[in-house]
Symmetry: C2
Subunit: 205 residues, 2 copies
């Protein structure tokens, strides 16, 4: 299901695309299971996805954009069916703590971001977000409590439209055999695969 359900009992922290809700502590547990540890950015990210879902029109088949690779891709993957491997989630390295859900066909959608003015009212969040203290001096429990208390008060929502060129599905196209490594690769990459063109992440042994 890639369309947003509309039921959201008050008091719960986040709701996923199917309408299942999770309390704050239950969501922390889910985060730890998927992400490895209860990252504050992912707790906020869950609220961001929840807010975006709540504003999407009923029945809208959507794709997602994370404007940073930090935490937000996981918030989207945990609460929607858009994943890094199915093509419905695009992870961009824009460095903004923001995400968007948008209609797969029209590109119209909802963007949610951390509002820097609003954050200023929350000491722990502000200090964590802008790294005003060394990590070791941060009070993780106080930070999480403040995130829970702040909820969507630190967030801002806006309507957006995704550029049509970014909605073209990235197709592998015809596959051929790389004359250098002998592995298959998309012929559109050139006369050899990109790894053999110098982009290999490995050292040659």
């Amino acid at each position: 299901m890639r369309t947003a359900a509309k039921i959201h009992p008050p008091g719960d922290w986040v709701r996923d695309v199917k309408g299942t809700t999770y309390g704050f502590d239950a969501f922390l547990e889910r985060i730890t299971a998927f992400h490895g540890y209860p990252a504050p950015g992912l707790v906020i990210g869950g609220k961001m996805v929840d807010l975006a879902l709540s504003a999407m029109p009923s029945g809208c088949l959507f794709d997602a954009i994370a404007e940073t690779g930090h935490c937000l891709p996981d918030a989207i993957q945990m609460l929607t069916p858009c994943t890094a491997g199915n093509g419905w989630l695009k992870v961009m390295d824009l460095g903004r703590f923001a995400l968007a859900l948008h209609d797969k066909h029209s590109g119209n959608g909802i963007r949610v971001f951390i509002h820097t003015h609003k954050v200023a009212a929350w000491k722990q969040i502000d200090s964590w977000f802008f790294k005003r203290k060394p990590k070791a001096e941060q009070d993780s429990d106080a930070l999480l409590r403040e995130i829970q208390q702040a909820g969507e008060k630190i967030l801002q929502m806006e309507t957006i439209r995704v550029q049509p060129r970014l909605m073209v599905k990235d197709s592998v196209g015809t596959r051929g055999i790389c004359p250098q490594c002998g592995e298959s690769y998309p012929l559109k990459h050139g006369s050899a695969c990109r790894a053999c063109q110098g982009l290999s992440p490995y050292t040659t042994v």
Copy 2:
């Protein structure tokens, strides 16, 4: 847990990093829940992760590389704690159907890829992988049965070492406020955020 357990009862399709095993059908169900549909590439990807895990030294804290954004990131995310949002999984657009797990510190690891010569012996897999037939003419059930039968027989494993420059943790660094959009961004990106530098995925309204 980011170190590989060593128990792997025969007959099961994949084993995750904790040593929990899944039969073929159970893994198909998990794929459908996470990825949206039982993508053949993800079924094979699961076996690739399993094979890599089985060859990693006990107790090794590892990171992961997917050499394509198609399916393989999800296989890694489903069976290991390396995710798109926690920095332990790097998704590259090399176009090769390959993945690697490597020691977080030394860069030494295991790479698994589909071996094109071995695939030739499996009609359905060969036809799907090289797109020799239009999708509508493919027999999905026969393809999945063949994938189950082939198992790791279509895969090849090799030892690799990741380039040290790729193992440097991508830190956000100091955050500032973009003078154009007013949102926070990593100051290392320049005097404005990358979106305001022209990389925004949205149309201006």
